[in-house]
């Protein structure tokens, strides 16, 4: 019987979760070049020391974002009294298909 590995370990070992070992860092860096990153305090890192520990103010899931976007599009259509444009219908169908899978 071959050795088994958990799916979560696979995700961890390839650096897709927070990498926690040297090997995981290596895997992560292979596929995630960091040159285009723009850390918020790049110009003045000392701000972090002045600011201290911060709290989260709001957590919005990506699905909430996309739902708000859809609601706004539908509102715009309703305001104008138009028929639903095809791209909105396609997007709604695609979303239903994805959620039903």
């Amino acid at each position: 019987m071959p050795n088994k590995k958990k799916i979560i370990d696979l995700f961890q070992s390839k650096g897709l979760l927070f990498p926690e070992t040297e090997k995981e860092v290596e895997e992560f860096e292979l596929f995630n070049p960091v040159d285009n990153e723009n850390p918020a305090d790049w110009e003045n890192p000392a701000q972090i020391i002045k600011r201290g520990i911060q709290k989260l103010r709001q957590i919005k899931s990506a699905s909430e974002d996309s739902l708000s976007e859809e609601i706004e599009e539908l509102r715009m259509v309703a305001r104008k009294g138009n028929k639903l444009p095809q791209h909105v219908i396609d997007k709604m169908k695609a979303k239903h298909r994805k959620d039903d899978k």
Binding site: I7, P45, I48, I49, L56, S61, S63
Partner: protein, 215 residues
Amino acid sequence: MTIEEIEDILLVISEKSNDEDSAVAAFTTLYHGYSKFLNSVVSRALKNSGIYDEQILNTVVNNTFYKLYENPLIFAFPEEAVDDKGFKAWVSKVAKNEFKRLLAEYYRDTVSLEKVGSEPTIESDEFAEDLSANVNFKVLDEALNMLSERDKHILLTLYLYYEEGKKTPSNVLNMLCKMYDTTPVNIRKIKERSEKKIVEYFSKHTQLTPLKHAK
């Protein structure tokens, strides 16, 4: 940065009560050396979890570096270290713990938690070990992106708190139930269904076929 450079910087920061200017200068050098890496790690984890936004990203990075400034000597390189990857791994782990702490704090303050009955351990499905050599970052990323945002978020949040043999913390389960207006049983079903889809994706997109998809 070399191991010696990092060790020097951490020592200078630890002397902040005697020489604050030098400590701030050393901190700035360290931030310029590792904030891009950390930004990338945290933003990738948030995007994978479906809860990416700049406020969360900046808070996790801010707090991680602040903790490093407050306690610079908690980290030490192992004797066999040859480069700075161990330091990167450690910073990433501090960020992961900070992210979990922030989530717990946020949901404690904003969501009224209900008692969840004793939940069984949420396990992760298994594969033949040789398969992992054939699955790379790209395939994993594609497999994840095939899931809906909700399912991806639920799966990766459970992974974030996964500890072998331990139950998923009830406040995490509660948080997910509240966010998606569902029950712990459904959360478990979503996780199982997502892992099944991932297994199927691997079998289609890698040369090896998983031997068994079992709990």
